[in-house]
Symmetry: C2
Subunit: 446 residues, 2 copies
Amino acid sequence: MTMDEDERYVHGKPQNSFHKAVNIPDIVVYPRSEEEVSKIVKACNMHKVPIVPYGGATSIEGHTLSLNGGVCIDMTLMNRVKALHVEDMDVVVEPGIGWMELNEYLEPYGLFFPLDPGPGATIGGMCATRCSGSLAVRYGTMRDNVINLKVVLADGEVMKTASRARKSAAGYDLTRLMIGSEGTLGVITGITLRLQKLPQSSVVAMCNFPTIKDAADVAIATMHSGIQVSRVELLDEVQIRAINLANDKNLPEVPTLMFEFVGTEAYAREQTQVVQKIASEHNGSDFVFAEESEEKKELWKIRKEALWACFAMEPNFEAMITDVCVPLSHLAELISRSKKELDASPLTCTVIAHAGDGNFHTVVLFDPTREEQRQEAERLNHFMVHTALSMEGTCTGEHGVGTGKMKYLEKELGIENLWTMKRIKDALDPNNIMNPGKLIPSNVCF
Amino acid sequence: MTMDEDERYVHGKPQNSFHKAVNIPDIVVYPRSEEEVSKIVKACNMHKVPIVPYGGATSIEGHTLSLNGGVCIDMTLMNRVKALHVEDMDVVVEPGIGWMELNEYLEPYGLFFPLDPGPGATIGGMCATRCSGSLAVRYGTMRDNVINLKVVLADGEVMKTASRARKSAAGYDLTRLMIGSEGTLGVITGITLRLQKLPQSSVVAMCNFPTIKDAADVAIATMHSGIQVSRVELLDEVQIRAINLANDKNLPEVPTLMFEFVGTEAYAREQTQVVQKIASEHNGSDFVFAEESEEKKELWKIRKEALWACFAMEPNFEAMITDVCVPLSHLAELISRSKKELDASPLTCTVIAHAGDGNFHTVVLFDPTREEQRQEAERLNHFMVHTALSMEGTCTGEHGVGTGKMKYLEKELGIENLWTMKRIKDALDPNNIMNPGKLIPSNVCF
């Protein structure tokens, strides 16, 4: 526990978010057990003190902001693996463990956890924001990969959401209700995760296209081919320029697709050939693929570090990262319309899409000291959200609502949906202590 | 709308369930649109009249019983396909459409919906009970295959749970909250389903084992091989005897595994070889496989009609179907312990397991005119549920809670979980009109 000003400031400041801090927590606590979390929450509930659960703080929509001061519960000391069940292909962990540390732990057992958000993200935070990443196209999102949760509810009671069976029809799906609830319904204190076997073999491939629409069309055709690609990532020419700059590379600065295929050696290769054929039918060129471990790492590193590469173009700028997602048939149109707007903007903007899911990010770089640049970034964000909503899409594919996306929810989901969320929130957290001011717009009333 | 006694009786009687009807609905209504459902629910809410949503009535845990009379809303006239989006691989349907009719509709487009519960089940009912079936091992359960729902809430308002994007982090997962809520939170009036490409190629295989433990071990080893089998079903020697009787077959009456492998032609064959090797390492014999369409249908028909085959042994009996599910490592032990109990019972019992998921059914045949036989069937059911719960499993893998499994929920999930369910139920249905007396035990109070 600390009331140290610096620590409170660090915890109040959005780490990776373009949202501004308006307040800092009054206190930061570092529980080491579920019992401690329960005691903290009980006390807060009694005195009606706001709580902000805090993990890796890699979320970007203002989820960890302490809008009303109160208690920041930093979960990072609860980072143990409690039980690994190799035969069941599941693992029980505390929320503060990072997904990268977890995968290091799992590797000797031939297992891995197949979600790959930003480095530093913790499993608890990933549950809270319903995160996904580039592998979701094959393995699903956090929603699909959690077997059960332990949750400290607003009254301090500890709830188990489900048994450890992989499948169950026993009651309301409280596991999924908590996943994506962003700390507004409880503090996650334990997680049982589904694991996957490390693939026997994999191939990483890259291909260039004359237009971004060609690239998007190939991503769509790949999904329709029935092939279970494990990654299909789209990068635009500006993003490739950033990568060249940051890594001293010489890649053709054109729209590019990156694929990963996994399976047995023969099957990974067969998939590669199918997609190579699809690409060639859509003006794809320079199809390269790697089967050697070092080569694959090198290719994949480019994608993994894409965000950081952007800062090579504008080192003192901040990034607004957009996150819309649409039904696949609308992706090419969404990207084309967005690109036109982005290219016409004075700001530097790059495109990175998890194209197999219809999930489309842009990195909009702006000078944080210049308000008109922040506003222009906001305008571009609005434009893409509204375009996506007009295509039956969502304002957030994987980054969550936080404070940043609340204003779009009514348009996306309708007021009846917000009423239902509010009724659930009021029922489970009557004193509104759990991460207040996030996810549910404050103007929702019955 | 009808108040005809026969229709009310038919709707009050459990169709496929061993639960006894204690009442019948006062009225049966057949809405043809969401607006009509909304009006019905509004009126019922105003007058505090209980509602039972009714689909194919294939559920077996008493979900459709009219415990308190009231209004039975038969949804089967709302059975249209509203929109098929081939490019997005999704379809928007009304709840009354059956999964088999839907698949007939989809076949010309090269698409299918990959869940296969009992024939006659409707998509709405499958959502309400969070059903799955033999393909869940590859494609997941209803939870994983629904993009969004339209739901008429207890106050008659119509809610959309989510956009049509495949992935979203926009707010509480109300889609998943409704899936498995068994009509206790609202009436489902529209469903957007994820579809799959019909596999290019498939192989069906069968293999015999000296003991049921050997068969279970092979199912487990198959899951661990990293192969994405699309079906792995275990049948015991009694079930095979029933199949022989019903179909005039001569299959070896020993524990048997049935597999399906899908993918490209080469990959389906490669998977078959891997599993054949695994089976041979665990005392498997007579490994046969079929690649021809007719042959495959013939093999698979055996499994599909397994339940009906049981009645060939005892034509005038009823069946109690059990439905526990455990972490995979416990499956062999669970089946072995259960088999000992079943074999010692005077009743005829067969075993059918979705072995890849750890989901294990038995069909317990009893003479409904003899109360001691019903009680013996209940005793066997209890035994298996308690054994599964002692192994961190669930009392219901896919059949749901209804009235039949309520009594096990506190042991499985803990009272804090039941409190949370009750709080949500009270918040969304304050007059307790939505399928009252189901899912949440009536003795849960705060």
